[in-house]
């Protein structure tokens, strides 16, 4: 359980980190931020990077900035930082609701939000949040900057469209208007385990009917995504238990869930149905 040898680099700014990525792009170079997924993978030797670029010294990436209706979370913001951060609108409350579901307290003290997004585990709560809120991921290379919409970010389980010479420097989330309703529910067998399925729902109520509905599902398919078929059920309707049950059923029918030795696809589909219904009820309260 010891990582294979590697060379450690400690750049003094983002530009240097990007140059190092280009220089070692052919030698399994990896960014080391919180290390809460990468280091276990290295311990198991599932990952054997020849070079690690430790960005923990780059204070410029440890910021949460808010302007023009957007929230930018830098690559060194840790999960637990969300608890004390003052984040505008309903987005802040949503992030605070989601955060405690991630792993355990000591893991959240080191692990980063952008690290989760780059790791792209299908069960990741932050990946689900990014997909549901249509986040924009901010990449930087030695030659320039690139903005990637969440729907173009996830390319499969633990796989993203980030290029080998690119560093994820931050993620931009919309400021949801005050009064925006949201609900989050996930199911795992033990506290802190990876979610077998998770649902994040967001909507507004105007003149008694639902608008701007978003339903995101994580953990069921190889990457989280919004489920338009479920959102369409809610649009323009008055909230009711019957409506929420129909939305859950529509989501379940639209999924193509993963299957493994312990969890059948049908089980994940049933879970999605119940979790969406529960999250919608929670949001409507």
């Amino acid at each position: 359980m010891k990582p294979a040898p590697f060379t450690l680099h400690r750049p003094s700014d983002v530009a240097e980190a990007a140059q190092l990525l280009t220089r070692f792009a052919d030698d399994e170079v990896r960014i080391l931020a919180g290390g809460q997924s990468l280091v276990p993978m290295m311990a198991f030797r599932l990952a054997r990077p020849g070079h690690l670029i430790d960005i923990n010294g780059l204070g410029e990436l440890a910021q949460i900035t808010q302007s023009d209706g957007a929230i930018e979370i830098g690559a060194l913001v840790r999960h637990n930082d969300i608890a004390s951060a003052e984040i505008e609108g309903a987005t802040g409350a949503l992030l605070k609701k989601v955060m405690p579901n991630i792993a355990h307290h000591p893991i959240r003290a080191r692990g980063t939000i952008c690290g989760s997004l780059a790791h792209a585990d299908p069960s990741s709560e932050w990946c689900l949040s990014a997909a549901t809120l249509d986040a924009v991921l901010l990449a930087r290379s030695a030659t320039g900057k690139r903005e990637i919409a969440a729907r173009d970010w996830f390319t499969g389980a633990m796989s993203t469209s980030l290029q080998a010479d690119e560093l994820l420097t931050g993620v931009r989330l919309p400021v949801l208007p005050e009064g925006t309703r949201f609900g989050f529910q996930e199911f795992s067998r033990r506290k802190g385990d990876f979610a077998i399925c998770a649902a994040l729902v967001v909507f507004e109520i105007h003149y008694g009917v639902i608008e701007e509905a978003r339903i995101g599902i994580g953990g069921a398919e190889d990457h989280p995504r919004r489920i338009a078929e479920g959102e369409a059920v809610l649009k323009g309707q008055r909230p009711s238990a019957e409506l929420f049950a129909r939305a859950g059923a529509a989501v379940a029918a639209a999924l193509d869930p993963m299957e493994d030795h312990s969890t059948k696809a049908a089980y994940r589909r049933d879970l999605a149905c119940d979790l969406v219904e529960g999250a919608l009820q929670e949001a409507a309260r």
């Binding site: 359980m1 010891k2 990582p3 294979a4 040898p5 590697f6 060379t7 450690l8 080391l32 290390g35 809460q36 280091v39 276990p40 290295m42 311990a43 198991f44 690690l52 430790d54 923990n56 405690p100 355990h104 307290h105 000591p106 893991i107 003290a109 080191r110 033990r190 506290k191 802190g192």
Partner: protein, 159 residues
């Protein structure tokens, strides 16, 4: 493999070591600094036996590299007692039978110590949530919870 010089404060004492980049902080503390109270169980962040406090944060020392400890203030289980005088949490673990074999105990003590220092008024629900982070194969956890509850009161100076 070339080594990196690292200096940090370990339980109040300045330490300077030269370590391979791949060496975890847990191994640096145990093998290079000789403080074997920090235990390594799973070595991939699941069991929590190696939990320590780094710059006030309760973290897994098997998921940090020693080379990342430059300038850090680190506390391990050895920092808790003052000579023969046990820390209130250690007293409570003894009284409530919060351990049997003792392998997980340093991790639980540092987990409880770090999180209670940050949040002295932690309620039982939060405590259960925090303690779910570490594994114990002897106690069934109930006695650990009792010990941490009592330890929290003792830390607050309540009888």
């Amino acid at each position: 493999m070339s080594k990196i010089a690292v200096s940090f404060t370990l339980n109040g004492r300045k330490v300077e070591v030269e370590v391979e980049p791949r060496r975890t902080l847990a191994d640096v503390i145990r093998d290079d600094c000789g403080l074997t109270g920090t235990h390594t169980g799973c070595e991939h962040g699941v069991c929590g036996a190696c939990t320590i406090i780094v710059n006030g944060q309760t973290v897994r020392s098997c998921l940090m590299f020693g080379a990342q400890a430059e300038g850090a203030e680190i506390r391990t289980v050895e920092s808790l007692s003052a000579g023969d005088t046990l820390h209130p949490l250690q007293e409570a673990f003894v009284q409530h039978h919060g351990l049997q074999c003792g392998f997980c105990t340093p991790g639980f003590l540092m987990l409880a110590c770090g999180t209670l220092e940050a949040n002295p008024q932690m309620d039982e629900e939060e405590m259960r949530d925090i303690l779910s982070s570490n594994l114990c194969r002897c106690t069934g956890y109930e006695n650990i919870l009792k010990a941490v509850k009592d330890g929290a009161e003792r830390m607050r100076g309540e009888p």
